[in-house]
Amino acid sequence: MAVNAKTLNETEFFYGHKACAGCGGSLAVRIALKVLGENSIAVLPAGCMSAVGFNFPQLCFGNNAIISTFAGTASMLTGVAAGLRAQGITDFHAVGFAGDGGTADIGLQALSGAIDRNDDILYICYDNEAYMNTGIQKSSLTPFGAKTTTTPAGKNIRGNLRPKKNMFEIVAAHGISYAATASVGYLNDFMKKVEKASKIKGTKYIHIIAPCPTGWGVKTDETVDIAREVVDCGLWYLAEYENGQYTLNYRPNQFGDVAAYLQKQTRFKHLTEEDIQTIISSRDTKWEFINQNFH
């Protein structure tokens, strides 16, 4: 039986951290470590989770954890796994937690290399859709239309002009052992995927949407609700890639209201009706692809 709230390890491995109230990223890290257990070695590059977790002498990880260079999450994971193997230790999980910038922009080359070598590591990208730690700059995982400090909303240009980079399929295109998408709004699905990944040899990648109340402009108590809504309105999807096959894990019966989802967040407040139609039509194109290629 898959792990759930009742069977989950009661130990807290990420505690007393200084993340903003209602932080989705810290929820993803906390749950993943509870599934993996104390034999996990966490690698964190520059980003929110290392900034809030390691403020000497306040050290919030209860397991072994280390900060890597911004670009080197995956290569440090390779080193951690190789070092432990050389000592004859086999019962461990080398797990990385990088943000969207640390994964899709700065850490992409190292991640690609690790997947190419098929090192036995688990890479978790907590995607809050911008460089939140440094004050909300656009990353390549920032969605179309979102206002950040580097893509401001003005009269002529309304927020980010480019769509979100398709990280999940980029990783899958390597022929990776296991890749999955998740959302902090669907934690049972996420826990199942982390547990499954922990039992697979080779490189594993999980991409989890982790809303940031500060950057998205939602209330601190809405993190989980908005993470559910983004999946329900079809702008994000829960899927897996394994053995060369894509599998869709959850299909909303009817898509939720995209406009309502967008207007809840101050980063999308400036969008016009036309912009919302652009977002809806790109969602429909995406789902056409999903319907054709995912099982």
């Binding site: 709230a5 989950l8 491995f13 505690y15 906390r30 000497f56 050290l59 993190t223």
Partner: protein
Amino acid sequence: MKPYLRDFVPKNLEDIPDTTSYEAGYLVTKNAGWRSIRPVIDNTQCVGCLACYLHCPDGVIFKSNGKVEIDYDFCKGCGICKNVCRLGAIRMEAEK
């Protein structure tokens, strides 16, 4: 078991380790001061479904005799627990 508050706070140069490693889970400050509202659990309505325990970003809700309790030293008062409680057994009260 979880990272816990320590009495000893390294302050002087000689207290700081020579290497970049230190004991895991070493806490020296609380987060309680961040909070302007606090969650309060009504145990007569709680059925122990653990939704609040699962969704707390800070992990401050813990199991206790089939129900749950809150570690107010580290709760930041975000209110996610109140939103995920289907029974309405958690309410937010202003800190005095």
